[in-house]
Subunit: 297 residues, 2 copies
């Protein structure tokens, strides 16, 4: 051992992976990793994977299913033990190929059912409802809903939750859905939204990035006061929503819980789960300054 140490010997994981079919490699497949929420999720995930003794392989994709397919092929060629997919959806044929290779799949924030995989998702429908009810409880009369048209299952659920709550309440919702999920589309939507004769006085942005853009439009371009003229609720709890310029009330994605659930499942024996498994977590509302004080808590 001493000799090995002085010679700088290290086990060759490539060779070990070849024989034992335990490569120690886990693929993280994600798009838009430069985005605040994704970056935070990725950072936490990479660290937890390492402390669990795995080595993360990072595969950046575009937002298309096609590029996720290629990513998955790249992963299997390295006999990755598992893939954690944060964006896009592989088709069933590819999923099956992964399973045949002994590779395990976890899908985060994706509702589509895939046999043999673990799905981790948040209760987005409930969050949409909470968003609506919170706006109403704090005195809003003209609620609005803004989203990108990325059409991700989680975004769609948030929208539906908000609309269902509005229907129950008998209130009409002004809806503006456009562009990609970014600060810039938030800014543009805000610019159009607040240029109207009758302005909404409370808006749920399906994402913090959209909310930040919308708030900047409200304040810099229309000199509106948040929350007095418009209340705003976001979703994700990115670092910027805690910055004093925004101080945004938002839903907090439980990043650590998500990643721990993923890693626990990967560490458990694979034969237990032949069906697909679903773990649903809650995203609690973080009360900050973009909402008026509620009459009732």
């Amino acid at each position: 051992m001493a000799a090995a140490d002085t010679l700088g010997y290290q086990v060759n994981h490539l060779a070990r992976g070849l024989i034992s079919s335990q490569s120690g490699l886990v693929a993280i497949i994600a798009a838009e990793i430069e985005t605040p929420f994704r970056a935070a999720l990725l950072s936490s995930l990479a660290q937890k994977l390492q402390t669990a003794g795995k080595t993360p392989v990072l595969i950046a994709t575009e937002n298309s299913d096609e590029s996720v397919r290629n990513a998955l092929r790249q992963a299997t060629s390295y006999r990755t033990e598992a893939a954690i997919i944060l964006s896009g959806m592989p088709d069933t044929a590819l999923t099956e190929m992964c399973l045949r290779h002994g590779m395990r799949l976890v899908l985060i924030n994706r509702d589509d059912a895939q046999p043999g995989t673990l799905q981790i998702r948040l209760n987005d429908h409930a969050a949409g409802k909470v968003a609506f009810n919170t706006l109403m409880r704090t005195g809003c009369k003209r609620p609005a809903l803004v989203s990108s048209n990325a059409g991700t299952p989680s975004l769609v659920s948030r929208i539906e939750g908000f609309e269902d709550a509005a229907k129950d309440h008998g209130t009409e919702v002004f809806k503006m859905i456009r562009g990609e999920t970014s600060y810039d589309t938030g800014l543009q939507i805000g610019t159009d939204l607040f240029a109207q004769d009758v302005r909404p006085d409370g808006v749920f942005c399906v994402t913090d990035l959209l909310a930040c853009g919308l708030m900047d439009a409200a304040r810099c371009r229309f000199s509106l006061n948040v929350p007095n003229d418009v209340a705003v609720i976001g979703y994700d709890n990115i670092p910027q929503s805690g910055w004093e310029s925004y101080d945004l009330t938002t839903f907090s994605q439980p990043i650590d819980e998500i990643n721990e659930a993923a890693i626990n499942w990967l560490s458990s024996p694979p034969d237990v789960a032949t069906e697909n498994e679903i773990i649903e977590l809650e995203a609690p509302l973080i009360w900050r300054g973009t909402i008026r004080k509620a009459a009732t808590t």
Copy 2:
């Protein structure tokens, strides 16, 4: 080939790497990847690596040299072809071991000399000077300099450049260096800085994150106007500095150039470079709204 395709055959890169010593794997070793600048660099790097036919292995470290050392060991055990290091410094012994393994090393934004490596850095000293001169040219009388005490070579160079320019100009600089490189320390430094009897009227923050925090302290806590009461210059050009609430004048790190330089060097034959090579790039100043209009352009 048709049969291979229907059976879903794929070359096993582990086996190929074992025999050909071309694993196709490149390690990215980085700390604080959830931070806006790092996330942007990482995203671009991962994508460029993939289109160059390499597969990135992500190794998240803490900011210590010790954890970079462990990361490098993990990388060598997978016979990574190269490592791109964005944080911390491996010691010479480890660098030599990497080179002996046929692994190539590129160090980004690190000034420390290491034989056999490629160093990519920015002309931070010049940027520090530009920052000072720009503040003075736009009418500042009491310049201040704020930094974290991370002590990274690039931060130190920015500080020295600013101070050297001040010395040439015969002007005293108020300096506040504290904490880690984050929004929160920017906020705290700003809070203390603007509570003084004589306030600075122009400050160079060595990082955009610090600048955002400082601006929020100035505006939310002291109702100061930027740039009329205080001008602010940052460094990095993170996405948030382009947001309307900040509209921060800052130095733009040429992320694409940095990554292309790294990948070009990795693609060139290794025997050419036995000495360490240094590539120095410029970070141009992006003029936005946190600086008064200059009398002379």
